[in-house]
Amino acid sequence: MEYYHSPDSIKDALSMAREFDGNFIYFAGGTDVQIYRKQKLEKNEHIIDLKSIHDLNSISIKDEVLSLGAMTPLDDIIKSKEILKFFPVLVEAAKSVATPVIRKTATIGGNLLVRNRCTFYNQSQEWRNGVGSCLRDVGDICQVTGGKNDCFSRNVSDTAAALIALNAEITLINSNGMTQKPIKDIYLPCGIKFHDLDNEIILTQIRVPFSPKKWWYKKLRMRKTLDFTSLTIAATIDNQDIARICLNGVSMTPILIEEPIETLTLESLIKQARKNCKTVDNDLMPLKYRREMINVYLEEFWNSIYI
């Protein structure tokens, strides 16, 4: 059986979560969750829809610090002139997610928690049965590496790359209270359990602390729309000349390289990126090409700094 609930406060949502004891899923825009349900990769019985919790959908900018409610639709972020003025890298990232219609429903919180993807996993049940299942489903080996321990499915959140490059923080609430964390710290290097949030936690706010003096963003994908990323790079330089370059779509977590621009060189940037990204052959684009594109994009970013 499946049940749908629409609490109108965080308190009610948390008490439902406790009552259903793990047998539930939070539903924001549902544009990721619904696919997993249809493909029988998400089988929890209770859907807790967060849509009616009003104070989670908001945009405010004070002294160049941005606060975003987790339920803010990506389309509202794209249309905000103020966000465009101070945080254009976030607008570019939001614009590159899915399609214009999906972005009216898809939320920023849901995008940060979009599940990791792999060509052998994000398929219909029939397809998965056809190739044999994998570690992340009901099988016992990874179809990509043949290994028995690690899943290398890719974190594909485009806005995570931008928000990490902006050194953003999130506010999380569960029945023990409220905590704040840098976004970069919630992700784990595992394709299956890709973040460290317990399943009762509700993401409520995102805070972006500074407006960068330079930024760069690019997403590699098959088509200019609709497709998930094969490589996303978002980069910023702040007023203290610290460069933050975040790569996503090429490893189990977003990969951040953070260094004063004075000491950074293109060679060391490429070296760190290639070393830290655990890129395997689990995307529609060939592995060799994706790896090469890391160098190409980083070089483009590097050249843009001095323009």
Binding site: E2, Q34, V101, K104, T225
Partner: protein, 155 residues
């Protein structure tokens, strides 16, 4: 099953639905409104687009229970009697459809877009329809049609 009250194309009615059901299935299977098409059933083709309180949403991803208390508009509610909406008229005139399977989704995406952006450029129109897959027309004639409709809507 749950009994819910839905307002679709201006008519309010009660209907029994499963609690996980999508509005696409409710429209097609319970209300016999089969104009909204089910194609990929996973968010990638746009053929199930409908309007919820004037905003385009994908029917295949939207729970029916999320539609309670909202105004749902489907392709069946777009024309007034025999006279087609300008977007429909121009799709016919510019040969913007062949099999017609993607057409309801194209119409339901283009109408709110043009209402919000009456002076949209050709590139903006293209971008706005970038989630509507068509396997027949090659897109050019769809874009032509929406551009022509925009022009007539402005005049």
């Amino acid at each position: 099953m749950e009994k819910v009250t839905l307002t679709v194309n201006g008519f309010t009615q009660s209907v029994l639905v499963e609690s996980h059901e999508t509005i696409l299935d409710t429209l097609r299977n319970r209300l016999n409104l089969t104009g909204t098409k089910k194609c990929c059933d996973e968010g990638t083709c746009g053929s199930c687009t409908i309007l919820m309180d004037g905003k385009p949403v994908l029917g295949c991803l939207t729970p029916t229970l999320r539609c309670v208390g909202k105004e749902i508009l489907t392709i069946e509610g777009i024309s007034s009697g025999e006279s087609l909406h300008l977007v429909q008229k121009h799709l016919v005139k510019s040969l913007g459809l062949q099999c017609g399977f993607c057409t309801p989704g194209v119409v339901m995406t283009a109408i709110p877009f043009l209402e919000e952006n009456p002076h949209a450029s050709r590139n903006e129109i293209k971008e706005s329809l970038s989630g509507n897959l068509c396997r027949c027309t090659g897109y050019k004639k769809i874009i032509d049609a929406v551009e022509n409709a925009a022009e007539e809507m402005r005049s």
